[in-house]
């Protein structure tokens, strides 16, 4: 969405997308867990050209105290795009209306799975920094943050992840890149809880019919299962390989 209709490129040629993918292919996803020294949990994700760092702190004492709950831990989330992360964000930094909304929906997705009743009066902070953006950053952010939370040892009911579906040239496709995001007809990011099949984050814009909506949900669910495997591998590697070498895995 948001692209100028006048110079819209052809997004689907003979069933292949601009970067040569099929409609049900996701981009390459690589995740490395425990990349930060001081964070309780962290993860770095490369999802296509997206580069995102997620750090988790907590559970720690909740400050300010009026935010505390006697019954559960409070989850705080900040999604932030670095000033150098993409053309739109050039030279800007700090929270804007978009990043505040995304921080809210990401937080709400994690409020569902984190067993926060175990940690009354505390806070769990999730920080997601978008270093480079290429469409679908909120989905990659959720995916990386889930790995970072698992790395921090925070009890969760499920390892969640998110993926977007889009409508390009009248067909539904999974995981839109920057061009498909800007010039596509519709964009629908969804976070699934793979264990229960429940939807934890759902946003949508652009015109869709009922049938297209149903097809989109199915595409997202299939992709979500692929991503879950990559997330679990990333956590396993933390315990299999020495720390110094982990960052070098991304090539």
């Amino acid at each position: 969405m948001g692209g100028n209709a006048a110079n819209k490129p052809k997004l689907l040629v003979n069933g292949k997308r601009v970067d040569g993918r099929n409609v049900d292919d996701i981009r390459n996803v690589k995740i490395v867990a425990r990349v930060l020294n001081d964070a309780d949990g962290s993860a770095y994700i490369e999802w296509g050209k997206n580069k995102i760092l997620a750090g988790v702190y907590g559970p720690s004492e909740c400050i300010p105290r009026h935010d505390q709950s006697l019954y559960r831990g409070i989850i705080k989330c900040r999604y932030n795009m670095a000033p150098f992360s993409g053309a739109e964000e050039h030279g800007r930094s700090g929270p804007n209306r978009r990043s505040k909304e995304l921080s809210k929906v990401i937080r709400e997705a994690f409020e569902n799975v984190i067993i926060s009743e175990n940690f009354p009066k505390t806070q769990i902070e999730i920080y997601v920094e978008i270093l480079q953006s290429d469409g679908g950053t909120r989905c990659a952010a959720v995916t990386a943050a889930a790995v970072a939370l698992a790395d921090a040892g925070i009890p969760m009911k499920d390892m969640i992840n998110a993926v977007a579906v889009c409508k390009i040239d009248g067909k539904m496709a999974v995981d839109p890149g920057k061009e498909e995001d800007n010039f596509g007809d519709s964009d629908m990011p969804i976070a699934y809880s793979p264990r229960t099949g429940e939807i934890l984050l759902y946003q949508m814009d652009g015109l869709l019919t009922r049938e297209e909506l149903a097809e989109g949900l199915k595409l997202a669910k299939d992709a979500s299962e692929k991503i879950r495997k990559i997330q679990i591998e990333a956590i396993q590697k933390v315990y299999e390989e020495p720390k110094e070498e982990r960052f070098l895995l991304i090539k």
Binding site: A5, R97, I199, L200, L201, Q203, M204, D205, L208, R210
Partner: protein
């Protein structure tokens, strides 16, 4: 006419408490905005003044009182405001103040339907009490034919079946709301 620059901005502000807008009011404004913007119901070519110069639309929403489901109420108000908006007269790329040429060209009516969920019960149009007690909410913006925007809020979750059923119901209930809007 060689180039047409298309710009449309709906700036919505919700005043729920003093001070800078809260996350909730930002979300409210952005959901209403997204519903109207993504449906492409306004002919943006009519905003052209001259090369590199276009008109813009701003919608400001002031919440005077809150009795739950601000999203649907705000979206209805915004849509009614658009439907009653007049187009200014344009001469030689300049707006003539105080003179109008007909209405803003609006092709369809966008309305939103918000559902609340508590436990396994789902209800349309949550009132303030229901809103305080609900686990999750799901909003769909619809035109007469299509679903044009959606947003889930709250810590709860919806199943795939819920989403499809509620989308269907939003299209049906949306027609009732569309009937309330005056041309």
């Amino acid at each position: 006419m060689d180039t047409i620059n298309e710009i449309k901005r709906d700036t919505l502000s919700a005043l729920l408490a003093a001070g800078p807008p809260s996350d909730e009011s930002i979300e409210l404004a952005r959901v209403v905005d997204r519903g109207i913007r993504s449906a492409n119901i306004i002919d943006l070519n009519s905003f052209y003044l001259e090369e590199d110069k276009v008109m813009a639309i701003y919608i400001d929403i002031f919440i005077l009182d809150h009795d739950g489901n601000l999203i649907d109420a705000s979206a209805l108000a915004a849509m009614q405001a658009l439907l009653s908006c007049r187009m200014p007269k344009v001469e030689n790329g300049k707006i003539v103040r105080g003179e109008f040429v007909g209405k803003l060209p609006v092709k369809d009516k966008v309305v939103t339907c918000t559902f609340g969920k508590r436990g396994d019960k789902i209800f349309l149009d949550p009132a303030l009490d229901e809103e305080k007690g609900m686990d999750a909410r799901l909003t769909f913006a619809t035109t007469s034919q299509h679903i044009c925007a959606g947003q889930k809020g709250g810590w709860g979750s919806f199943s795939e079946k819920d989403v499809l059923e509620l989308a269907e119901m939003s299209l049906a209930k949306g027609n009732d709301l569309r009937a309330l809007l005056k041309e």
